[in-house]
């Protein structure tokens, strides 16, 4: 299908309008303000003054809407990260992100793709623990997002043919599975944010005595959050990277002698539960 009949001036008009709409909002006054003086003059000249406002001010509605819509989209994709960072600071990271990664598709949800990496690189002025917590928060938000956006995948159930050579196969993690570690109770906080309309920055919670592991898995119309033992999480990671035989051997190699004694019973249970819970989408042999 071709765009027959699009007049040449329309592309030029849209380029000027696009330049105006993407103009960064000024932060120097302590609020996010449009700067109409910087808009392309050829566009401004074509805009009529309104009953109450000048043409530039009317264009500024679109300029502000562009940014606030993207800020909202990113906050909604990263609810925990944005509240812990504080909206004012978070919006600055967001602006930086969208200036370097302007949205390209029709799906605004996908405009947040890649933010986690930029955020981890860009965090400034934070002490070590706070920085680690913010990076972890972004990883948790991104994990929920990946599970939410995952396509439908059939869960792997070993066939009778697979059973005889199961140990030589590598399990393929479901697209709707994420394994997450937290050093502060961040997932609890995230769960409380769903209907929280408060906008103030959240204080960082105290660190946990030891980190906790979770599996997020998409099931029907919900995302299940399943607690894991640390070694169980480690095994799940290894299973996705190596054959079952190698994964079990590597886990065993990492364990203390005391842990090793209880390992066969535990790994059997973990493996069976992981299949039962739909963590895998298939198995690959002969790699």
């Amino acid at each position: 299908m071709t765009a027959r009949g699009a007049p040449a001036w329309l592309a030029e008009f849209q380029a000027r309008f696009g330049e105006m709409i993407r103009m960064p909002l000024d932060r120097s006054s302590g609020t996010l303000a449009a700067t109409p003086a910087l808009y392309p003059q050829s566009l401004v000249k074509d805009v009529q003054n309104g009953p109450q406002t000048r043409g530039e001010a009317r264009l500024a509605v679109y300029n502000r809407q562009y940014w606030f819509r993207l800020f909202e989209a990113l906050k909604s994709a990263f609810p925990l990260t944005s509240r812990l960072t504080g909206y004012w600071a978070f919006n600055e990271y967001a602006a930086r992100f969208f200036l370097s990664h302007p949205p390209r598709g029709w799906d605004i949800e996908r405009s947040a793709d890649g933010f986690e990496a930029l955020f981890a690189d860009a965090i400034e002025d934070e002490d070590g623990r706070r920085r680690q917590a913010l990076v972890e928060a972004a990883r948790i938000d991104a994990g929920f997002r990946r599970v939410f956006l995952a396509p439908k995948t059939a869960s792997y159930r070993p066939s009778s043919a697979d059973a005889t050579r199961l140990l030589d196969g590598r399990l393929l993690p479901s697209a709707a599975l994420q394994i997450l570690e937290e050093h502060s109770p961040l997932l609890e906080i995230r769960a409380r944010l769903v209907r929280d309309e408060v906008e103030s920055r959240l204080e960082l919670p105290p660190a946990l005595a030891r980190s906790r592991w979770w599996a997020l898995v998409g099931r029907d119309h919900a995302i299940l959050q399943i607690p894991l033992e640390a070694r169980e999480a480690e095994l799940l990671g290894l299973l996705g990277a190596f054959s079952i035989r190698d994964a079990l051997a590597r886990l065993e190699g990492a364990c203390s002698p005391e842990e090793r004694a209880a390992l066969p019973a535990k790994t059997g249970t973990w493996l069976a539960q992981s299949v039962e819970r739909g963590f895998w989408s298939g198995i690959r042999f002969g790699e």
């Binding site: 592309a11 809407q65 993207l70 995952a150």
Partner: protein
């Protein structure tokens, strides 16, 4: 103008909804209430783009709603007035979704939303000139042909008018719908918002509408900014002035299906239902 009996029959078939049906825009925060209470709503309208991707969770939730209610599709990403070719993959996904949910019709906006490879995720205006009537009509015709079902265009709320326009907004809008042979999604709040922002007569706009082409009417709330500009925010109850305009539209072209959009600062669902009750009472 009121539809003739023949146009009414055609219209009823295009709408595929009960006469005077009252619907609501489906939003994630309302799912639990809707699933638990199966409220008295004639149909739901979904934002197409929320369900076009491969994500399974939203589709599962939608399926649960669809088991109890008719669903119509309302898009924001068609980019009808963009200069790039219509997005084949997007249209294909839209066709698939419409088939899957059995949508009686599909709608989007008479606007552009991106250019030069970038998406602005907004519903943006153009100068209203005859040259763009032809351009938009050709593309809307093609979209309707591809969809194989009625396709409706929504009138925008806008904050700017261009000196280069040679047509009024309603001349532009009705001409595109007529020349494309497609349908209207008439947003009464948008008419009010634009009439206040640009100082035109909202009743003159309504008088130009061919109600025999109106698939449904939208209602929504708006926000008045300190400088007097009204912004189409969908975050308040419907304003009294918009209810009054709705009543006049009903007298001119009713009955028609009516859909309430509430997108931000979402209230509990019973408050949304109260707005539907008000619509029923007013008309």
């Amino acid at each position: 103008m009121k539809p003739s009996p023949e146009a009414s029959r055609l219209l009823d078939s295009a709408r595929g909804l009960p006469e005077g049906a009252l619907g609501v825009g489906l939003r994630i925060l309302h799912y639990p209430y809707i699933i638990e209470h199966t409220p008295n709503v004639d149909y739901f309208e979904i934002v197409s783009e929320n369900f076009l991707g491969p994500a399974h969770t939203p589709r599962q939730r939608l399926e649960r709603v669809r088991q109890h209610y008719p669903v119509v599709l309302h898009g924001v990403g068609l980019n009808l007035l963009g200069t790039a070719a219509l997005d084949e993959a997007y249209l294909e996904a839209l066709c698939r979704l419409a088939d899957e949910v059995g949508a009686p019709f599909v709608t989007d906006h008479l606007c552009w939303s991106g250019a030069h490879g970038e998406s602005h995720h907004d519903l943006l205006p153009v100068p209203y000139v005859p040259e763009l009537v032809e351009f938009a009509a050709e593309r809307a015709y093609e979209v309707q042909r591809r969809l194989g079902r009625p396709f409706g265009l929504e009138n925008l709320s806008s904050y700017v008018e261009f000196r280069s326009s040679t047509l009024t907004e309603w001349e532009f809008y009705t001409s595109v719908v007529r020349e494309a042979g497609c349908w209207s999604l008439l947003d009464v709040n948008n008419i009010y918002v634009s009439s206040q922002n640009h100082g035109f007569d909202a009743d003159a706009y309504l008088a130009a509408i061919d109600f025999s082409r109106v698939l449904q009417v939208h209602l929504a709330g708006h926000t008045r900014e300190p400088d007097g500009t009204i912004v189409d925010t969908h975050d308040h109850p419907v304003a009294d002035e918009v209810w009054a305009l709705y009543r006049r539209a009903w007298d001119m072209g009713g009955p028609f299906p009516t859909m309430l959009e509430w997108d931000a600062r979402l209230p509990p669902f019973p408050e949304v239902l109260a707005q539907l009750a008000k619509a029923r009472e007013i008309r």
